[in-house]
Amino acid sequence: MKSSNKKNTPFKAIIMSMFSALIALPVSAQQSADLTNPHADVLSIGGSVTEIVAALDQQHRLKARDTTSSYPPDVINLPDVGYMRSLSPEGVLSVGPSLILAEEGAGPPEALEVIRAADVDFVEVPDALTPEGIMRKIEIIGDALGVPDKADALAAQVETALSTALDDAERPESDKKRVLFVLSTQGGRINASGTGTTADALIRMAGGVNAVTDYEGYKQITDEAVGLAAPDVILMMDRGGDHGAADDELFEIPAIKLTLAAQTRSVVRMDGLLMLGFGPRSAEAVRTLNEALYAPKT
């Protein structure tokens, strides 16, 4: 059983954190960050946060994750503290974290209050819809983990990759394809992304045009509005399974049937976290989508 091991870790972690908070303050994280940094036990909440932790080579410090953290694939093996918006305070404390890195919006607030009362450091990472936002996330997480150098390096690397990807994706306005991001087609009702979403941001970054700009957020869209949106391509999250059958079903939906996208059978499926995470893999996401949109179909 792991319980004997679990028993003293929180206690140890607290003592360690108090102890090292005193000495570590002036000490630069440059000096072998992993030894002096107080936070050996990190709970990461939010898919992109976890990705950044892993990209900073700090995955070994992760004790647990939330449900939305699914990349890199082996984090799945970590204990799951549940959905980030409905955390259980005792569940969070039970994994013995000394530092919690949480994407903006984690909660509920009562749970966070109790967690803070237990002397666990809590760092909130703001949401991002822009390349600058991604840099900011990397910087905050790097600081919290005591690896600012690695964070700088990662940020620089991501920035370069992203700006290259963005430059490559850029194309004349008249040439841009209209992309309809479909979140779900439950029961033939299409839930599509308007503006202000990560999907919208990604479409634009990848050199496309969001076909729906009449509303904000994800909403169910009427059949006729789909026609008016006139998408050239439909973008969806990859949920696995038989794509051929799923495509047939998708293009049979009356609203979609009449669009150019259906006539050319243009649908792009991408991993949800890759697409919407806005983390270190955003350059890859932009490039992948761009290629899917504009590379000749085979």
């Binding site: 929180p10 607030p109 009362a117």
Partner: protein, 352 residues
């Protein structure tokens, strides 16, 4: 003349012994709830520590006093409130399937919660500061309480409350609240939608002393008021007219019952979200066990409701630890089959 040879069965004192059995079970359930959790902190080891004069670690103190204890107290209050409200509503509507939802508490509280979740950010800053984290519970309570009072008003004419009107108006109000909620759901972003879903499934995870202190007094007051309705609800089993003939002030009793249910359920739903099933199953089980006499049924319901809810909560927080299930899922998954089994086994009684 027929001789009196039959000895009347005394279900009342039988039901009174159930008070003690259930009180004992509640004590055990409370201990279990403090003992078990996602962390290894346990009541027994802490008591041993205290006995030896050792200090508790901060982790232990936080887990026990800031997490499990308020959660336990809230579980007891909410479970008792839901079960007593269910028993009172069933007595008032003379129908074993009635629940507090009939008087609009659920629909109103749901609408209040949705309003707060979706539109909360639009409130003026001073109001957000005033309510702090408690905006959703506060709005849910106002919604539940308000809709019940509204229903009560529209169905009361010339000092008489028509239970039938209340039932029908409740359906209409529920539809209206559902439609308004639908509009808000449409506006909501997907995070808010998930919040709504979780709210609807109920949880004691947000328990805090602040919530216990704000909801507790109202719940206790409402439960005490409801507990005094036993004789009146018994009389009401014979119908309103006959209840009045045997000396019950029917109108006053109806008012107390409705206000008590609105208060208890409104406050319970506000702090814990929508937790189903307790209100219907608990009184029904007790009627099968010890008869329908409301003088004992109400108190027994309070006890059994509290027991079942804290046991469901223990399950909810250990079964997929460190994450936890919404408690509404646990009560339904465990309660529904048991309920069905009892129904089938005692089919004869159910048709009564």
């Amino acid at each position: 003349m027929t001789e009196i040879d039959a000895v009347p069965r005394d279900r009342l004192s039988h039901a009174r012994t159930w008070h003690w059995i259930l009180a004992g079970a509640l004590a055990l359930a409370c201990i279990a709830s403090l003992q078990v959790g996602a962390t290894d902190v346990a009541l027994s080891t802490m008591l041993a520590k205290l006995a030896k004069g050792e200090a508790l670690s901060q982790m232990e103190r936080v887990v026990l006093f800031d997490i499990r204890l308020p959660r336990l107290v809230m579980g007891v209050l909410v479970g008792a409130a839901l079960a007593v409200s269910g028993a009172a509503m069933q007595g008032l509507f003379r129908n074993p399937l009635a629940d507090p939802g009939i008087v609009g508490v659920g629909a109103g509280a749901g609408l209040g919660a949705i309003l707060a979740i979706v539109l909360g950010a639009l409130l003026p800053v001073w109001m957000i500061d005033l309510t702090g984290n408690q905006l959703v519970p506060f709005a849910a309570f106002l919604g539940g309480w308000g809709s019940t009072l509204l229903l009560y008003r529209v169905s009361t004419r010339h000092g008489r409350t028509s239970v039938a009107t209340m039932l029908l108006a409740g359906i209409a109000l529920g539809a209206l609240a559902g439609a308004l909620s639908g509009i808000l759901v449409y506006i909501a972003d997907d995070r808010q939608l998930r919040d709504l879903t979780f709210w609807g499934l109920g949880s004691l995870a947000g328990a805090s002393w602040a919530k216990v202190l704000s909801a507790g007094p109202l719940i206790l007051l409402s439960i005490s008021a409801a507990l005094m309705l036993g004789r009146g609800l018994n009389g009401l089993a014979l119908g309103e007219a006959t209840a009045a003939h045997i000396g019950i002030d029917v109108q006053r009793m109806k008012s107390i019952a409705i206000l008590a249910v609105a208060g208890a359920t409104g406050a319970a739903v506000a702090v814990s979200g929508g937790i189903g099933f307790i209100g219907i199953v608990v009184p029904h089980l007790l009627r099968l066990a010890s008869g329908p006499d409301h003088r004992t049924l109400l108190l027994n319901s309070a006890l059994l409701g509290a027991i079942l809810l804290i046991l469901a909560d223990v399950i909810a927080r250990v079964v997929i630890a460190p994450a936890e299930l919404p408690i509404g899922i646990v009560t339904a998954v465990l309660g529904a089959p048991v309920f069905l089994w009892i129904l089938l086994k005692r089919r004869g009684l159910v048709e009564l």
